[in-house]
Symmetry: C2
Subunit: 720 residues, 2 copies
């Protein structure tokens, strides 16, 4: 049920994508366009309670009007401001060091946010690490600079930035250019009076962006198309290209209309010194992946030398974003969950692929994007792999598992797509790459990357450290073949070439079989072989010191560098998208927000509500609470002085799926009511009956519609 889309028609997909959480070092391709410059999500935090929740008079009133399985969630259009106010008021998260004024891109999670995150990570651990028997590691955040030099991050993990020459305000250069060109295209189209392709925009924004130099301009003919081409390629632009564009197109700082500086490169890693001598440089890791790779040999040994296997890690990573502005979607410190699955490059089949091949989802393959379109293809992963759209079974297996995980925690499958990287987005070594993108009010946001990184990572670390990082696999049958082998007469070869002898010998031994065959022919036919040394020097090698013969080789073991398939999850982005997908307001009151989080991830599963603060009700509250805790169900007693309605409304905002009310009649009769959050429908039963229902509901084995038929409805007229 695509609630959001129904009310946000302009949210139709465009080709934007984001990549913060997830990818290899490169000039930050695929980041989302700069957010419209209006009130940022952070600025909205200044109001602690902008829209107080209106409460009904009593739980009874709510009970009497609800239905067991009917609820209208689409009465009110989605408003980002409303959910952001709710999330801050209920302390899902807030700007870090808020009382010190905060710092852009840093957020703290309060109790419900931390619990929601912990529940998502717990399900992630079960879904991936436990079910797939992955090897979990926990490596350091502080990373030696050499490691990140090898991985390419020190040289290439950069963005280009420019500065407003008068105010010194800093912009990411590509975001600045994108924003201005998009605004000009839009203004041009409006001025020409024809409709534009929809553009992702912040629907909650009150003030329109002030783009000083462009808003009323009609572009010269063909210019809009030229800009379109530039926008499609901008991820590949370096400083030089961005600089030329800024000068040529007269792009100014959007907030002031001032000139901006030349683009300068800015490395996105936080740098520091390890130890007191100043000689050891460290960076905070920008991803957890390198911590897996440097430990590959120990992991392989732990796995008895066999592939395939996967390592997994959940942990913090850091990116010193130039000017983060999109709330939890672009932050400087974030939790990732990364899997590195090591696989034989000659065998990327997956032995559990059959178990997922029927899973159907929305794909946006590269061909469609390259033709300038964004039409989604809905098909099964089995079909996608069979047709070759997805490169191999292992990659396909993980794409399906990612889909199953995201929808299990509550992501709307209609607002989830897998977008393939286009050729120009992908690193040269990558075999294939798909991003799980989730549609929220900021657009389609990359939340999980799933790349086949070939043998790149292990190869570069092995080369740099001179440590072999290979798998040795016994061959099913002995591989027998003939091979040409060079033999040098050391006694005469050495004196003949003196100081060059060693380099020459090394060069000869490195010859390919093809070259060796040529050498053999030359020695036989001409009695000498003309060899070109590494410095271009030529050596005549007579057959008296060198001979070549064919030998039969019997190979029993194949040695190879495994390929790596890397599913990489940005947890904060998933969590925020999930909150948006879960949010709606009650038909009767736009200020009564509800978060329909599934019980599996809801911070608290059951709210226990004693009717009043009377001491008589405490023992039964305590008993129910203990009973639920011993069954592993997170509950909370709310014995604050507020009315029952207020307490339920607060917990609707917290996403608490169930509530039980304890009354004086409960103490007398041993009965309690059970309320479901979305429908507000209530049933009544003995404590044991209600607890039994809750166990089944919270485990996901029972749906509410069914549960509501098992006990009598509570209309507020019976005695509790």
């Amino acid at each position: 049920m695509p609630l959001l889309i129904r009310h946000l028609p302009f949210l139709q997909p465009t080709v934007f994508c984001t990549c913060q959480a997830l990818q290899l070092p490169r000039a930050a391709p695929g980041n989302p366009p700069a957010p419209r410059r209006g009130p940022s999500p952070i600025s909205s935090y200044s109001t602690r309670r902008s829209s107080p929740v209106k409460q009904p008079n009593s739980a009874q009133k709510m009970a009497s009007v609800s239905h067991p399985d009917q609820v209208n969630k689409t009465t009110h259009p989605f408003e980002r401001q409303a959910i952001e106010t709710l999330l801050l008021r209920r302390f899902f998260f807030c700007p870090a060091f808020e009382i010190y004024g905060g710092v852009k891109g840093l957020y703290d999670y309060g109790p419900p946010g931390a619990a929601l995150q912990a529940n998502i990570l717990d399900l992630w651990r079960k879904h991936f690490i436990i079910e797939e028997e992955m090897l979990e590691v926990d490596t350091t955040i502080m990373t030696l600079s050499d490691v990140l030099k090898t991985s390419g991050h020190v040289d290439r993990f950069t963005d280009w930035m420019v500065r407003d020459l008068k105010t010194n305000e800093v912009y990411r250069a590509d975001h600045l250019v994108e924003g201005v060109l998009q605004a000009r295209i839009k203004a041009d189209a409006e001025a020409r009076g024809h409709a534009l392709k929809p553009v992702v925009e912040d629907p909650t924004q009150k003030k329109k962006k002030k783009v000083v130099q462009t808003v009323t301009q009609i572009l010269p003919d063909g210019k809009a198309e030229e800009y379109g081409t530039v926008l499609a390629q901008i991820d590949n632009f370096g400083g030089k290209e961005l600089s030329e564009l800024i000068r040529k197109e007269g792009i100014m700082a959007p907030d002031t209309g001032n000139e901006v500086s030349e683009p300068v490169e800015f490395n996105l890693m936080f740098e520091t010194q390890i130890g007191p001598t100043g000689q050891i440089h460290g960076y905070l890791r920008p991803e957890t992946a390198q911590g897996h790779f440097v430990n590959f040999n120990r992991l392989l040994e732990f796995n008895n030398g066999r592939v395939p296997f996967a390592s997994a890690q959940i942990g913090r990573s850091f990116r010193n974003e130039i000017s983060p502005k999109q709330g939890l979607l672009r932050v400087r410190e974030f939790t990732m969950a990364e899997i590195e699955h090591y696989v034989d490059p000659q065998d990327k089949a997956h032995d559990r692929f059959d178990s997922v091949k029927h899973v159907e989802m929305q794909f946006l393959p590269k061909g469609v994007q390259e033709s300038g379109k964004t039409d989604l293809t809905t098909t099964t992963i089995g079909q996608a792999v069979e047709e070759g759209m997805v490169d191999n079974m292992t990659l396909g297996y993980f794409i399906a598992r990612i889909y199953l995980f995201l929808t299990k925690i509550g992501i709307d499958p209609k607002r989830l797509r897998f977008r393939q990287h286009m050729a120009n987005e992908m690193a040269h070594y990558a075999a294939d790459c798909w991003d799980a993108e989730i549609l929220n009010s900021y657009g389609w946001i990359e939340c999980v990357g799933c790349a086949d990184r070939s043998a790149y990572d292990l190869t570069v670390h092995a080369n740099r450290t001179q440590q072999k990082m290979v798998v040795r696999k016994a061959l099913d049958e002995v591989h027998v073949y003939d091979k040409l082998v060079i033999n040098l007469e050391k006694k005469t070869f050495g004196p003949m070439f003196k100081k060059d002898a060693k380099a020459l010998e090394e060069g000869l031994l490195k010859l390919t079989q093809e070259k060796t065959s040529e050498a053999q022919k030359a020695l036989t036919e001409k009695g000498e072989y003309l060899f070109q040394g590494p410095n271009g020097q030529e050596f005549k090698i007579p057959s008296s010191v060198m001979s070549i013969k064919s030998v039969t080789v019997r190979e029993q073991v194949r040695e190879f560098v495994p390929n790596v398939i890397e599913p990489s999850f940005g947890i904060g982005r998933i969590l925020y998208s999930l909150l948006e997908h879960s949010y709606w307001a009650r038909a009767e009151d736009v200020n009564r927000g509800v978060l329909s989080l599934p019980p599996s991830v809801a911070p608290v599963k059951v709210l226990i509500v004693p009717l009043s603060n009377n001491a008589e009700l405490k023992p039964l509250s305590k008993q129910v609470s203990n009973q639920l805790r011993s069954l592993g169900i997170a509950s909370r007693v709310d014995d604050s002085g507020a009315s029952i309605g207020k307490r339920y409304a607060r917990n609707d905002e917290l996403g608490t799926p169930y509530g039980v009310t304890i009354d004086f009649a409960s103490v007398k009769n041993g009965t309690i009511t059970l309320r479901e959050r979305d429908t507000t429908f209530q049933v009544i039963g003995k404590v044991e009956q209600v607890v039994t229902l809750l166990v089944e509901l919270c485990s996901g084995r029972l749906e509410w519609a069914e549960a509501a038929t098992r006990l009598p409805a509570y209309t507020g007229e019976q005695e509790l």
Copy 2:
């Protein structure tokens, strides 16, 4: 059963203590003495397999000689080198970026280490956060410098260091002085031929430390005692005192005998820049606590404005140690679990204190230490609070809960003590502070701190940010009292004092009741009041512009800054101590190490061992594995080619408590064997029977001695 102590008589407690993980900013008091400079734990990592494990021939052989509940764990003396080799070989942890040469003080956890840590944290979360209904938060590691300036870390979280003037090797100054003075005391005592009080020393060390200038010296009479006094006070020494000592006592670099530099102060926080402008300074947090405090107002609101309540956080912290040398005990990046319990300063009772008052443990109160002794007092926490040894019930409650947690995960209660901070160790504002210290081969190591920090933290942040951080509590009865109030005739007062009027008014309104009463008297008797302004200037204020009268105040609400009780856990130190407490070698072979981890924290609970790699055994292995997984029991199938004995020996080293063997007869009869790790005793039963036993054993509801009587012993002679 104090296995370790029995074999390491020199491990008798001395007054050393450590404080890395846990305390407030100060000149790093209470750190342990510098480790003896021999082969460091890290250097031992260079050998990948220094002592290969000898394996028995078969599981049957082991089965036939074992007993259901008898095992001798004390045959071989404890050797640190042996456990360190095991922990590295089985990849519990290893130096981070090992293939790049590593960096001191940074370690990665491999699969068993990561799983052990996750299990410890999971139990911690249940024991504290869930059982106590704490509010979990997850705040940023990257911290704005202002926050840590307020907390005192920027100015005072430092150690003094010196440099070898020739080699530039760096030492922590206090550790250097301690090490040299201790060595001199020892050498003196040996030369004089009388026994020394035992000193903590590394028993695995082969080469004796080379202390160039002291080893053969007899000290002048009285000098050893003088050194003893210095050592007792060294935690309070600053740079000047350390410098004087180094010069006066001729202390040189211990490894070279070279002179050392003047001590310089080194801040232990990693510093970095946030954002691209270079204007925002950040530090990696040295503790998680500040992240709780800055969010206090939101937490209080979330808790409906009421105290007591607690916030809790699990996360990484960082300390840029000068020269870390003790493996996991002194690291630059570590996982902490911290609780901040907010309590009314007038009411530090705890409503669940009764549930723990009977818990008995070992205490080392400050009085004993101040008299130069280390005798432990064994008593209940109830008694300790009643006698006033522990300051208050809430602090006592947490001390008992810490004790229960540590012993539940497998810490030996005989090697656990609570040491009170002495007056000179404790911050001026702290009311009382106890460290849970665990004895391992490095000595008594501080693993948990438990401090009553009074209102310090909230007060300093409130003062700095001008945000009130208070609790408002309705008083049981209205507090009625009289108060003198000053009234100024603004119309005449202003013109009379002109530019001084404002400062004068502020000064008058700040007068205490006592001073106001004096002013009232002066106005009545002399018609004027002589007021001294802030700059010493005197003002005559006539009764024409100022009057004072008594009003009756009715106070219904008390406003106060809550006090904070802070239990703070260094997870890495606890984990390492637990591994040492769990380690022993089988009587028959010193190289057959076992880690007797309790099932609750063991990385894997059950090893499933198919007798061979034959395909016929796979379905049953899979079935048992699925059955255990669905019951939430972590298991692992080991179908590697190694012998059963080798596979069990490997899992003894991994601490896997149970193993089941699957044979061809299993497939035929549906029976499997169950082996217990410590005793190696085996029983045989139907799959369902064994699974039922495993559920009870892993949940801790059943002991092995009892379980072993429920099924027939397997002697290797029956058919599986």
